[in-house]
Amino acid sequence: MFLPLSDTSLQLLPELAAFDTSGQTLFVADLHLGKAAAFRDAGLPLPDGSDAETLHALSALIRDLKARRLVILGDVFHARISHREALHALLRDWLGSHRDLKLAIVPGNHDRKIRWDEWFPEADILTPGTAVGNCLLHHQPPETTPKTGIALCGHLHPGISLSRRGVRGVTAPCFRLQENVLTLPAFGSFTGLSVLARVAGDRFFVSVRKQVVEVPVPH
């Protein structure tokens, strides 16, 4: 569905990404690559596979939408890890198969110690608040809402919990629209959810049956 705001051509995708049709730009947030490896570093034996799946899902979206540009809204990586060869190889291959893609990254709080030239030599590294079209790019939600355009951010891994009396509730990733600030759900396949409080005025969008729909709010 298109984001229900005037003067935007931003589409919310059921794959938990956003797409700007005018600039053929794909926006995703919070990949958290290398998370399983970071856990293993600390003595928690988690299996590999999530990084490959995340990148695969990203490739599929880029291909299907014929995206020309990809913007990652922070937390590309989960943490610095000790054995980087496997992830390096994975990312080299991935970049190799998207040579025409323009890549821009707004670094996130998890990316603090990342040397970008090592991982993404061609990418634009943006400072928070950089504008692309009428979108202002952030990782963390901006402290004040912008006067014009819309702010895009990630960081929160927003989730919403729905329940009916007597039935176990469902928690699902969601987009949150707070005035003109859109928080994207985490895209990575090994990321968690943080259930958001429902403040009056906030709008939530969830992916259900391959469609994004707005969560109705009873008044």
């Binding site: 988690l46 299996p47 989960h78 943490a79 699902a172 009056a200 049956r209 969560v215 009873p218």
Partner: protein, 817 residues
């Protein structure tokens, strides 16, 4: 015997008589035997087990100060009291030795002193014992042990803590060969098994010592004054609140037990509404209330400064609250042992009578209380069965031992297999668990994963300081729910609720917790900040917590079914409950039948809203639910239809909008025990149930780190939800044995699979009686009225999400119109 004289003179001085079972225990102990002492609470079990080690020390005549006895208790709140009474006995016989406790509450300075100068006896919990085992320097102390006493073993037996105790016992037997192990247990249905589990490989030489059980337990029921207005269903069960309040007014101190935390909050509010001037004399106790507040309530109980405490199972165990004069049980007692336990909270003194007053919330609970009374008199108490071979706990224990001196594979395997729970551990399971803690558990090893490493000397050790610290911090099997902490602005913690509940409350709105109304200020990062509401007469929602609804036990179900059989046969029954319920049962008899235990009654009926089928297996709500979903699945296999399944402890309703035409022979096939496991797995959403349950396993296996206060930010990056871990394993390492353990445990705990199979096997011998009814019968009515609020969702999460959105959409539309 000379060493007995200080003991006998001490007994004489206290005016105590030596009981035969105490003597039997000391003598067995003196012969070097191990075993189990069985006697009800308050009858001298402690002394029975304690005098043996004291005599041994007197006899040895040495001045050498060493730790000789470990005393394991299930609750740290009990440890202090226990240590005190052990010390009294030591002083009483003039033995200059110390008994001290060591639990999670023990300060580090005391722990250091205990390490330097170990007391003669150490009172501790299974968790603290595991923690001691991680410390290589303490092994010499443990090698000097003569005896271990496991107090309230029946409380530990059926849980993973019981398995943890078994593993610790095996370790101690290795360290101190010749160790004597004694369990103390209240009455349970399988004392023999309880002893075998505790003693492991030494079980054949074990001895059970029985104390005489003379305790008088009185079960009475608060009878509704008018049966006509008494609800058949359980929902409006607070109707008796006036009568309850009268009883509370007439007693010094009352414990009012309910079955769930929400019920506790509800009854507290109702009592307060009924008697507003009790505000300061009414207290509440449940496991989601913050520990400090709970301890304050416990102290008031001890002091006798509180009139009534509304509580849940959080007060089942624990310190002796002597001032408690009256115990009430609101709603179904659920089990005979449970009612006995709760009754025992009153009349704690030896010789005193324990009383419990049942407060039924629906008509059939009258039968339950009457049946429970008979079963109690005959001491027909439920059994508790040990958990078998949980690999999460084995992984945890292996790391514990790897830290505390390390282990060699062959020896450790033999030690683990010497326990009851792991006696049949397969080589594959062992190898897998060892890989899990060394190379990562998956088929291939991960280069950067180092936890436990195999040294050149063939010993597995854990040497990484950080991982050691993390392990020590997360030892144990008690798993707190994924919960949101409720705090005041000052940071004072009130307790916890579940995330889904709080996320539905908008900031500025109110909810009830711990008996008070709170206004939500904000909810962020699993903390809900609240403040007292500004409004004059605030109203708030009462939270509900998932889980916590236990099924009626097999024993009590059978006792209820037998009561009904005798009623149908016209056997005279003078109990007031049966007299009271007679009109209701007569209606059941007229409109349908009162089913006998060898019959399976199926009622069918059409109402304005649709078609209903009621099955009455009398097998407890979990099994009834499983039978309901199974029936829906097996009927729907040939002719798919949408059914709503609603269970209670007696039966299950299947509700649909098209008629269900099933012949008697078809019912035979539907209720057959054949292909049970496959059909059950296909009929319930086993994957989602497993995901839910994985929390405990992930925590025990050390996959979830509980953040330490003041832990560095890197810790935060390692925190994740168990549901997410479950998904990661399911996707990328589906053969992980912890996943199969989760599925197995879910089958047992959430579906009571063993009981289900037994019920269906017995069903093949039951006569199937199909009745078409004109109206809802007294047995059917509670199910019918429950449907709206408690039906089981068997659809998967995405379908549920879609359905909820549709409902929200409808509600929003209605709002607009």
């Amino acid at each position: 015997m000379s060493v007995s004289s200080p003991i006998t003179s001490w007994f004489r001085a206290r005016g105590w008589r030596l009981l035969p079972f105490q003597r039997e225990t000391w003598e067995a102990y003196a012969r070097g035997e191990s075993g189990l002492v069985h006697a009800p609470t308050g009858l001298g079990k402690t002394l029975a087990a304690w005098i043996g080690p004291i005599r041994e020390e007197l006899q040895s005549g040495t001045e050498e100060r060493a730790m000789r006895v470990l005393w394991i208790t299930p609750m740290r709140a009990l440890a202090t009291d226990t240590a005190r009474s052990l010390q009294q006995a030591l002083d009483g016989v003039g033995l200059q030795r110390r008994a001290e406790c060591r639990t999670g509450d023990t300060s580090s300075s005391v722990r250091v002193r205990q390490k330097r100068m170990p007391p003669f006896a150490l009172v501790t919990t299974p968790e603290s014992l595991s923690l001691i085992l991680t410390d290589e320097e303490q092994l010499p102390v443990l090698r000097g042990l003569r005896a271990v006493v496991v107090d309230e073993w029946h409380e530990l037996l059926g849980s993973k803590r019981g398995v943890q105790t078994q593993l610790c016992m095996a370790r101690l037997r290795t360290l101190a060969p010749g160790l004597k192990v004694w369990g103390l247990s209240a009455t349970i249905g399988n004392l023999d098994e309880a002893m075998r589990v505790l003693l492991g490989r030494d079980a054949a030489q074990g001895r059970i010592v029985h104390g005489r059980d003379r305790k008088v337990i009185k079960v009475e029921t608060l009878l509704p004054k008018e049966m006509e207005t008494f609800p058949w269903s359980g929902h409006i069960g607070v109707k008796l609140v006036q009568q309850v309040a009268e009883r509370i007014a007439n007693a010094r101190t009352t414990l009012l037990f309910t079955n769930t935390r929400s019920q506790t909050e509800i009854w507290y509010q109702e009592l307060l509404d009924a008697c507003p001037d009790w505000k300061d004399q009414l207290a509440m106790h449940h496991s989601s209330i913050d520990r400090e507040d709970r301890e304050a309530v416990e102290q008031r109980l001890r002091d006798g400064t509180v009139k009534c405490v509304v509580c849940t199972s959080s007060l089942d165990l624990g310190v002796d609250f002597s001032p408690v004069e009256q115990v009430m049980q609101v709603g179904s007692p659920k089990g005979i042992a449970r009612l006995l336990q709760r009754a025992g909270r009153s009349g704690h003194q030896p010789g005193a009578v324990s009383r419990v007053l049942g407060v039924p919330t629906n008509a059939l609970e009258l039968v339950e209380f009457a049946a429970a009374r008979e079963s109690l008199a005959a001491r027909r108490i439920e059994s508790r069965h040990p958990v078998m071979a949980p690999l999460d706990l084995l992984a945890q224990h292996l790391i514990t031992v790897a830290l505390g001196g390390g282990f060699r594979e062959e020896e450790m395997l033999a030690e683990v297999r010497s326990t009851h729970s792991y006696a049949n551990l397969t080589d594959d399971e062992w190898k897998w668990t060892l890989r899990f803690i060394t190379t990562g558990g998956a088929l291939h090893a991960y280069p950067q994963y180092h936890k436990v490493t195999l040294g050149e000397d063939g010993v597995y050790r854990l040497t990484d300081e950080r991982m050691a610290r993390m392990h020590r911090f997360s030892i144990g099997t008690i798993v707190a729910g994924a919960s949101v902490s409720i705090q005041l602005r000052s940071g004072r913690r009130l307790g916890s609720v579940e995330e889904w509940f709080i996320s539905h409350i908008q900031p500025g709105r109110c909810f009830i917790f711990g008996g008070k109304v709170w206004e939500l200020v904000r909810f962020h990062n699993l903390v809900a900040q609240v403040k007292p509401p500004e409004k004059k007469k605030p109203k708030g929602q009462i939270p509900s917590w998932q889980g916590g609804k236990s099924p009626l036990s097999s024993e009590l179900s059978a006792a209820v079914a037998d009561k009904l059989r005798r009623f149908r046969a016209g056997e005279p029954d003078k109990s007031p409950e049966m007299k009271k319920i007679t009109p209701v049962l007569e209606v059941q008899r007229r409109w349908s039948i009162i089913p006998n235990p060898d019959e399976m009654l199926i009622e069918q009926l059409q109402t304005r809203d649709g078609y209903h089928v009621y099955l009455y297996p009398f097998a407890g709500r979990l099994v009834n639910a499983a039978i309901g979903t199974l029936t829906g699945y097996r009927i729907g296999r040939d002719n798919p239809l949408s059914l709503i399944v609603t269970p209670n402890d007696y039966g299950v309703e299947l509700y649909g909008t098209v008629p269900l035409e099933v012949s008697e022979s078809e019912w035979r096939a539907i209720l057959s025990p054949d292909h049970l496991l496959d059909d059950v797995l296909a009929s319930v959403n086993a994957a989602e149930l497993g995901r839910h349950h994985f929390r405990e396993i992930a925590r025990v296996a050390g996959l979830i780190l509980t953040g330490t206060p003041g832990s560095p930010p890197t810790m935060k990056m390692l925190q994740t939800s168990s549901g997410l871990l479950y998904d990661v394993f399911t996707k990328y390492d589906p053969d992980n044995l912890l996943l199969s353990q989760a599925r197995r445990e879910v089958l047992e705990r959430q579906l009571e699979f063993t009981r289900l199979r037994e019920t269906l096997q017995a069903m093949t011998r039951r006569k199937i009686i199909c009745r078409r009814c004109e109206r809802l019968t007294p047995l059917a009515f509670p199910l019918w009225s429950d449907r709206i609020s408690t039906h089981l969702a068997t659809e998967d999460a995405s379908t549920r999400l879609a359905r909820m959105l549709e409902e929200l959409e409808r509600a929003a539309q209605k709002d607009k119109a």
